[in-house]
């Protein structure tokens, strides 16, 4: 029997019992859509999770530290220093899949404005790589690399102006007016120092030392709030920070022979974990958001399986429905099957015909079920918008669900098909 004939005959057989076929398909529609909607909720959960991690920093970044954790013989662990110098940075930069490696030099100082001050973490970076490492600006522009006339150009953290307080007051007194607005704004004049005795009047400072210089702080812009590993840093050009370090020898310690941290940027999100492993093999400690993401994904998987299983139950019921329908139709068609056996229909064709019928049910059920799923997904997304739940049906889920429902239908058609094969041709001759 030719394949098109098989398709046609099977379709006609279903068509002859429209209502029953429709009801069986309906079961499959419900089964498919319940599994798709459940899984789509799981996909949505994963998506929101990734998004929330991505807002913590770039998913393609790895932070390399100048120490690593080693396990000791007694079962505990300890941190061991390793040297993270320019040579090491070059080596990391040459790893396949690495887009760039940026040493981070950090320093701590204070910003002042009038009687108010705030602590600042300062990071010096190579401005040319700023964009590559996802340092995004809320407003303004990147700072220059000159330190002229005591003016320091730098980028400020997003919420910089909210953190000022009076360091010399007896109790905690933030720089906030009675309406709750910060007193220090972008219009205020700002100063920067690395000597705490310039800020705290009750701290005399080290008598053996010169008083630290006070610089004029020139903000060039503000960092964007999210999606940024650096949003809480003040960022300046690495050369400026090096000059500042020279001018404040005992207050800023920069050691170019040993960076605290190097940020490594990977080209592909999928390579991050391999590159991290390679860096660890080189002896450095490394961490990345991907790692955390991976762990959460493992936990989420269990939830996803549970959701899938809940949806799967109704698909199972639908599959039993198919089996039932097929068995019924075999009992009804015993005579007909006998006749076509007498007329020379091969066993494989008989099985094929029944399997094709089952596959049709699975296919139509799957297609309509997908349609229903997209509809439900739309409705759910409208209702769940506020609760943080999301239903997402990616293409692989749609295609997979369709294939799955056809396969499930075929499996439930298997036993009826075998029964049909075994029926005797004599059924054709008996008269009921």
């Amino acid at each position: 029997m030719k394949f098109p004939d098989m398709l046609r005959t099977a379709f006609l057989n279903l068509w002859r019992r429209k209502l029953r076929a429709f009801l069986t398909v309906l079961g499959m529609v419900i089964g498919t859509s319940s599994i798709v909607v459940m899984v789509s909720l799981g996909v949505g959960m994963r998506q929101s999770m990734i998004e929330s991690y991505a807002s913590m920093g770039s998913l393609t970044n790895i932070t390399v530290n100048n120490y690593r954790y080693v396990e000791t013989a007694d079962g505990g662990g300890t941190f061991k220093d390793v040297k993270l110098d320019n040579k090491a940075v070059d080596k990391i930069r040459k790893l396949p899949g690495v887009e760039g490696a940026m040493p981070q030099i950090t320093a701590w100082g204070m910003a002042m404005s009038g009687k108010y001050a705030t602590d600042v973490s300062i990071m010096g970076i190579d401005m040319e790589q700023a964009e590559l490492f996802g340092i995004k600006l809320e407003d303004g522009e990147y700072p220059g690399n000159k330190l002229a006339g005591g003016k320091v150009q730098m980028l400020l953290p997003y919420d910089f102006y909210n953190n000022f307080y009076d360091p010399n007051a007896n109790r905690w007194s933030p720089a906030i007016d009675k309406d709750g607005n910060p007193k220090i704004t972008s219009r205020s004049r700002l100063k920067l120092t690395f000597d705490y005795s310039n800020v705290y009047t009750n701290q005399p400072g080290d008598p053996g030392q010169q008083k630290g210089k006070i610089y004029t702080l020139v903000p060039t812009g503000r960092l964007a709030q999210g999606g940024n590993d650096f949003s809480w840093y003040c960022i300046m050009d690495i050369k400026v920070l090096e000059k500042l370090a020279k001018e404040n020898p005992n207050r800023i310690s920069l050691n170019k022979k040993n960076y605290n941290q190097v940020i490594v940027k990977c080209k592909e999100i999928d390579d991050v974990l391999t590159i991290k492993a390679q860096i660890e093999e080189m002896g450095f400690g490394a961490s990345c958001i991907q790692e955390w993401l991976k762990q959460s994904e493992e936990q989420l998987k269990q939830t996803q399986y549970l959701l899938g299983a809940i949806g799967g139950v109704s698909l199972l019921v639908a599959a039993i429905g198919i089996m039932n329908t097929m068995m019924m139709s075999i009992y009804e068609r015993t005579k007909e099957i006998g006749i076509i056996k007498v007329l020379g229909c091969r066993m494989s064709n008989i099985a094929g015909m029944f399997l094709t019928e089952a596959a049709y049910i699975g296919f139509f059920g799957g297609v309509l079920g997908l349609g229903l799923s997209y509809g439900l997904s739309l409705v759910l997304n409208n209702f769940l918008e506020s609760s943080g739940f999301k239903s997402i049906i990616p293409l692989y889920l749609a295609v997979g669900a369709l294939a799955f429902s056809v396969v499930v239908a075929l499996i439930s058609g298997l036993y009826p098909a075998m029964r049909a094969m075994k029926l005797s041709p004599l059924a054709a001759i008996r008269n009921e």
Binding site: M1, K2, P4, D5, T9, L12, R16, K335, E336, I339, I340, K341, V342, L343, G344, C345, R346, M347, N349, S424, P425, L426, A428, I429, N431
Partner: protein, 275 residues
Amino acid sequence: MEAVKNAAAAQPIIQTRNVKKTYRVGSVDIQALRGVDLSIMPGEMVSIIGPSGSGKSTLLNVLAGLEHVTSGEIVIAGKRLDKMNQSELIVFRQKHVGFIFQSFNLMPYYTAVENVAFPLSFRGMPRKRREALAVEALKVMGLGKHLKHKPSQMSGGQQQRVGIARALVTNPDIVFADEPTGNLDSNTSDDVMRTICEVMRSRNKTLVMVTHDPNMAMYADKIIKILDGRVVDIQLNEHPTYLTPRPKRAIGDELEEQSEQAENKKDNKQGDTQR
């Protein structure tokens, strides 16, 4: 060519030796066939006759490969049927056997053409070709005007003609028929039987049919009598009924028949030249 044909003709197309068939119902054995020896030549038309329960249908089913024997040998067209499994039997039927049923057994939702074309679809024939063959076979049966009719829109006689067309469309060597006129009234029975025999003879096919009606049995060249699962008599029929002229009947019938016969003759010729 002729020599080969003659040599083949000398061999029986159906031969059985000591065929037994026992049904077990509960703890009781029912011996439906108790040792049947038969030999049927190609082109022969044979009727099997006997009282109810004598084992006629059982014998036919066994010969058509619808049922396995309990013991004995069956050789048809040079093949040992008793050694074949279900799938081999189906392939065998595809190649060699046509079957006409008592209750017609047409697919009720198919038209005449689709019904006749159906067995060809199992042989993998493309749709256009098999429907063309089906139309031809139906015209031979005088059903040129009923091609698109469904079984429910046809008389019993017409339905059985469709059944005959379906049995012949695959061009089998042997046609088996179990009480082909069992569901028809006597006039129609004669018509249908005549049609079967004429077509079979013109194509030189072997026909084995079961009947309990002696009148119908007289259409064949050879009459095998069965009693209690044994062949008790084999008679040669010198004057098969289909060779005698049709008896006169009511005037209306005659008119209709004449027109039908004319159509039959024409179509017969066409069919023969094409084959």
